[in-house]
């Protein structure tokens, strides 16, 4: 399965065909989570805590239940006990037990005949709270005397004497950092912070659940991974996993935030109780208050460097809070922190801290953007101190094939140096800057992922192809999978239809996460096509009366090959399939994989900003993304990933943040106040696709989805420092902060 280094000529890969779901999506026909209805359907609404931390004394739903048209109310008492580990965390997050743990935490839910009635009924549910002290700041949550979110939540890794809110401790590294710092000419150490940001997918979570009296359930929902939804929902409801069938809708963005459940178990429980289908659609306020933002981070970084720019040692100490539950992505943040550098001496420490915030969910390269902000900012500061070119310093220290990575394993073939060289050669890098403008560069990394994957490929009677995949298509993966199938089979792209199928149709598939869909689903599709080709060759061999080994598959046809094969005209896929019923039955391919050869993707970004000295407002005036794609299957959608990642990173750097008041309530839970970049905030985003083939994929593919959000955070901060002379070490670098820094 190794990458075919010799094959650099592709027929389909690298072209830009129309995506198969394009027509439905430009005409309004595509069906997303909220677009489905069912006979007798009720509408659900959720009662949420207005307090950051409170004991639930009493829930009285009698007034709600007395309303005409209200059919059911559920609380935690309607779910079984006994979930363990992360299942318990998910259950507790979907429906609070004894305490509400954050502003917006679900405490009850109602089902009624109309959406408006359901909302009215939710307001009529009376909840008596005993307000408890709260903490939302990561550093304060670790201090003596901070309110304890949950006793006994810490795992074995946490050293004695830490606050109970510290639930995991991570430590790793290699070499001797103290020795490394002694060898340096300059050692700098600074602290950096990033606020929580939300994935901000435009489609709020939505689902339609139906649970029969026979204990079987059906669920339609917008998700990145319906097998995850099935397992998590079954655990919350206390049913066997296979009793539930989950069908994914089209998905209106996810970015990691739709890899878990929030409303699905609640809708199923309401449906079970009311014995009718129940639809729940979140409001934007609910999305921001009660679905996973990413973690907030407080980070210390120390780097040693010689006068000529050689890094001698690096140390990162990160503290992150992912809300009232464990699993802030501090481990992956640390693994990415120094990933770009060939460091002899490196040390990492991480603290996973609980606080009264919503349960974090994955957000595009979880942890890596924060880590890059801290490390790439400090590298830039040191380059300025030593008057060195920041790109040359990165090239001098760049990790490459054979480097022992900061996370431990030795790198296989990677493309960091190639992205740095391409950035250096790009006209943007040397273009003149105007008044009040500054330029920043930064690199970033995501390790990517393989994951459990199951794919079926079936040939039709006319030789056209259907591929059944389990990874929901968020950004064009049906197109890229169809292209790989067409390439492998030697058929036209238009003759392949890719369907994202429900949980009953395939073995377990992990979600579309970790930049894995085009890599892993693509790999399994190519292998399934290989099986189908073998059968096609056998059918041709039988017809010709020769050995199957004497038949090859080429250009979508079986052909005799070798000295003793004989002379036969090629048999096309259509000709063979037309007779498959009489020559041995259906022809298909199926492949299960958990591929480990996911090659990491590095990127380097260049950004020019202009800072208004009167207002502190930062405009992004030019932006260039350079990233390694391994092999770009559909270049337009690779560019789209680069551009979308950059835009989200720019938002994180400049505007976006979770703002909590003294009362622990989220102050900006609508898009007016949680401001994601709009069209007039951004310039065109130039892209350069670098292709350093991944040896772990038949066509050299690397996942490209996540790396692009990583460099913008430090690149923008570095550009602002270049423009203003002021180094801001806390994101977002919003106008008031910049103005305060400029005015001193």
């Amino acid at each position: 399965m190794a990458f075919d280094q010799e094959k650099d000529q592709f027929r389909v890969l690298g072209t830009r065909p129309d995506r198969p779901d394009g027509l439905d999506k430009v005409t309004g026909k595509a069906r997303y989570g909220a677009d489905m209805s069912a006979s007798g359907m009720l509408h659900g609404a959720i009662v949420r805590s207005p307090h950051a931390h409170a004991r639930i004394v009493k829930i009285d739903a009698s007034k709600a239940l007395a309303m005409k048209g209200v059919k059911a109310v559920v609380t935690r008492a309607d779910f079984p006990d006994g979930q363990k580990g992360e299942d318990w965390n998910i259950m507790e997050n979907c429906m609070a037990g004894e305490r509400a743990l954050y502003d917006g935490h679900a405490v009850a839910a109602v089902a009624a005949t109309t959406p408006w009635l359901a909302r009215d009924a939710a307001k009529a549910v009376e909840v008596e709270y005993e307000i408890l002290p709260h903490v939302t700041d990561v550093d304060k949550a670790m201090q003596d005397g901070a309110p304890v979110i949950r006793e006994g939540a810490a795992n074995y890794s946490v050293p004695e004497g830490m606050h109970p809110n510290v639930v995991r401790f991570i430590e790793f590294g290699h070499g001797d950092v103290e020795k490394g710092f002694e060898e340096a000419d300059v050692v700098m150490e600074n602290s950096y912070t990033t606020e929580a940001t939300h994935q901000g997918y435009i489609e709020p979570h939505a689902c339609l659940a139906q649970m029969g009296s026979d204990g079987r359930g059906e669920l339609w929902c917008c998700t990145q991974g319906h097998w995850f939804v099935r397992r998590m929902s079954a655990a919350c409801l206390g049913i066997e996993v296979s009793k539930l069938r989950v069908t994914p809708s089209e998905i209106g963005g996810g970015f990691g935030g739709k890899t878990t459940v929030f409303i699905d178990p609640v809708a199923l429980a309401l449906s079970r109780k009311a014995d009718r289908p129940v639809k729940i659609v979140m409001s934007r306020e609910e999305v921001l208050r009660a679905t996973g933002p990413t973690a907030a981070a407080s980070m210390d970084v120390k780097i040693g460097m010689t006068k000529d720019g050689k890094m001698t040692a690096g140390k990162a100490v990160f503290r992150m809070t992912g809300g009232a539950f464990p699993m802030a992505p501090v481990d992956s943040a640390l693994a990415c922190a120094f990933a770009c550098y060939d460091l002899e001496n490196v040390q990492h420490e991480g603290y996973d801290v609980m606080s009264n915030r919503p349960k974090q969910a994955a957000y595009r390269a979880p942890g890596s953007p924060m880590a890059a902000f801290a490390v790439e900012s400090l590298v830039d500061e040191m380059c300025r101190e030593l008057k060195l070119d920041p790109l040359e310093v990165r090239l001098k220290n760049a990790a490459k094939e054979g480097t022992k990575s900061s996370a431990g394993p030795t790198y296989p073939r990677i493309g960091l140096v190639e992205t740095l060289e391409a950035a250096k050669a790009h006209p943007h890098f040397t273009a003149p800057l105007g008044p009040n403008q500054g330029r920043g560069i930064a690199s970033g990394y995501w390790m990517n992922w393989g994951g459990e994957t199951s794919v079926s490929l079936a040939l039709s009677e006319d030789g056209t192809v259907t591929v059944s995949v389990g990874t929901p298509d968020i950004g064009g993966s049906r197109a890229s999978v169809a292209m790989m199938a067409a390439e492998a089979l030697g058929v036209e792209y238009e003759d392949v239809r890719v369907n994202v199928v429900e949980t009953g149709a395939l073995g377990v598939n992990e979600p579309t996460h970790g930049s894995r869909a085009t890599f892993a689903t693509g790999l399994a599709t190519i292998e399934a096509a290989t099986q189908a080709k073998k059968t096609l060759c056998e059918r041709a061999a039988a017809k010709w009366g020769i050995d199957a080994e004497a038949v090859i598959w080429e250009d979508g046809c079986a052909k005799p090959s070798g000295p003793n094969a004989g002379e036969f005209p090629p048999l096309s896929i259509g000709e063979i399939c037309a007779k498959m019923g009489r020559t041995g039955g259906p022809i298909s391919g199926h492949f299960e994989a958990t591929p480990m050869g996911f090659g990491g993707s590095f990127g380097t970004h260049i950004v020019d900003v202009e800072v208004d000295p009167e207002t502190g407002h930062t405009s992004v005036v030019r932006y260039t993304v350079v990233q390694d794609a391994g092999k770009a299957i559909h270049p337009s959608y690779v560019e789209g990933q680069f551009q979308g990642g950059a835009a989200q990173g720019i938002g994180w750097a400049l505007n976006e943040e979770y703002i909590y008041g003294e009362d622990g309530r989220l102050q900006n839970p609508i898009f007016l106040d949680y401001r994601v970049p709009v069209a007039s905030d951004l310039p065109m985003i130039d892209t350069v696709i670098v292709e350093v083939p991944n040896p772990g994929h038949p066509y050299g593919v690397r996942g490209v989805g996540e790396t692009g959000i990583t460099p913008p955070l430090p690149a923008i901060a570095n550009a602002v420092a270049d423009a203003t002379g002021q180094r801001l070490r806390g994101l977002p670098v919003s106008p008031p902060k910049i103005l305060a820094a400029i005015k001193g």
């Binding site: 430009v26 435009i202 996810g254 551009q643 979308g644 007039s680």
Partner: protein, 159 residues
């Protein structure tokens, strides 16, 4: 709550519905008329996913009441293509890969069509400011702006 009878026109066809006075035009389109192409991304007029036109004027249908449709002409994404013939904007969005998840796409197409009816030759800045009320979280807007520019060019040149 008593329901109000409303008579209106949607995408050229006569339409009648009953709704509560508090229901938004978006609620009515989606839940009463079965036109789910218009999306709710925020419900506060900030994201533009519910963009439609009323008597030719671009609005966020989540900020309009259903009863306000009385006697008006509503145009939604479902009426943008003429039969099988896509509007140039729809074709160019597919061709330029100007959508990823596609959730914001109906609203952006309706808004962009409204722009090109007012200004057949908008600058990049014109397009960016006109579409500033339509959030897209996937694309970074680059390919959207290019698709609108290309569609405008094609419509001007009448190709």
């Amino acid at each position: 709550m008593s329901l109000v009878h409303v008579t209106t026109k949607v995408n050229g066809d006569e339409a009648e519905f009953l709704c509560e006075p508090r229901e938004t035009l978006l609620d009515v389109l989606r839940d009463r008329l079965g036109l789910t192409g218009s999306k709710e991304g925020c419900g506060t007029g900030d994201c533009g996913a519910c963009s439609v036109t009323i008597d030719g004027r671009l609005v966020s249908s989540c900020l309009v009441l259903g009863v306000e449709a009385e006697g008006k002409e509503i145009a939604t994404i479902e009426g943008m293509a003429q039969g099988e013939a896509l509007h140039p904007l729809q074709r160019k969005f597919i061709e330029h890969a100007a959508l990823q998840c596609g959730f914001c796409t109906p609203g952006i197409l309706v808004a962009a069509k409204s722009l090109l009816e007012k200004d057949p030759d908008p600058s990049e800045e014109d397009i960016r400011y006109w579409l500033a009320g339509n959030l897209c979280r996937c694309t970074g807007y680059d390919k959207i702006v290019r698709a609108v520019q290309d569609a405008a060019k094609e419509m001007r040149e009448g190709v």
